[in-house]
Symmetry: C2
């Protein structure tokens, strides 16, 4: 699978380890940066990852920052990205099954490397359930159809 991975400085080490692990598992991995532990702004890398998903360059994305929160917000600014911030494999599987998530976000300062791998394994292995969930996922790609506040 074509997988793009991006982070901020806080998650630089985890990004490298996960990129190697995914490549060893046979995936086509694109590391979108950063290239060092120098301080960067997570939105820049979140937007870059979301753009790779939107263009079709990547089928799935892995987004990392210290807590996972900032980069997950950034990725979800792109209506073609559906990014799930998770800390355990059940949520990672539900993100695929119910939300057809194409990006998984993890907090490198909060989740250990083996838990991160377990989350990504569940994320990559779980199919989308479709059915009633498809209508809801469609609405995530078209924010303009949102109703006005009551």
């Amino acid at each position: 699978m074509r997988i793009a991975i991006a982070s901020d400085h806080a998650a630089f080490a985890m990004k490298g380890e996960l990129a190697r692990w995914l490549a060893q598992a046979g995936h086509d991995v694109a590391d979108l940066g950063p290239d060092s532990e120098a301080s960067v702004d997570y939105p820049d890398y979140g937007y870059r990852l979301a753009a790779a998903i939107a263009s079709g360059a990547a089928e799935r994305g892995v987004a990392l920052c210290g807590s996972g929160i900032g980069i997950s917000i950034a990725v979800n600014r792109n209506p073609e990205a559906r990014c799930a911030l998770v800390a355990e494999p059940l949520s990672a599987a539900l993100a695929r099954e119910h939300n057809d998530a194409n990006v998984i976000a993890l907090g490198a300062r909060l989740v250990g490397i083996e838990m991160a791998k377990a989350c990504i394994t569940a994320f990559l292995a779980t199919p989308f359930a479709g059915d009633r969930h498809q209508r809801r996922v469609d609405k995530l790609s078209h924010p303009a159809i949102a109703p006005e506040p009551a």
Copy 2:
């Protein structure tokens, strides 16, 4: 504080309990629906909550669905909303401190009511740290300034 709360059907019961708890604590709570456990689409309620934040009608938001994933994606489609999906209070505090999050998302089928209250308590009590975090938060409101993919 003016707090808006919204959910899907899966989190309807938790929404009612949290709304009462927040009102008893003295907050001005706006329940944006749904009004029953009948099946609804989480994006509709996520967009409604984000619009209440963007308009200034609410200062903070609480977004609930079964896993918290779907509604957190929907809320973050609005560049004025910064929604953090959390399952424990440390992430809830970091979301405020580093990301100036204005919406907290929780998974009603994954997180118990007392853990949800502990997360919201940390979320409402923690100030934004500003400084270098301000520049990153500013970028979340202006996705157009994102760099092109490498």
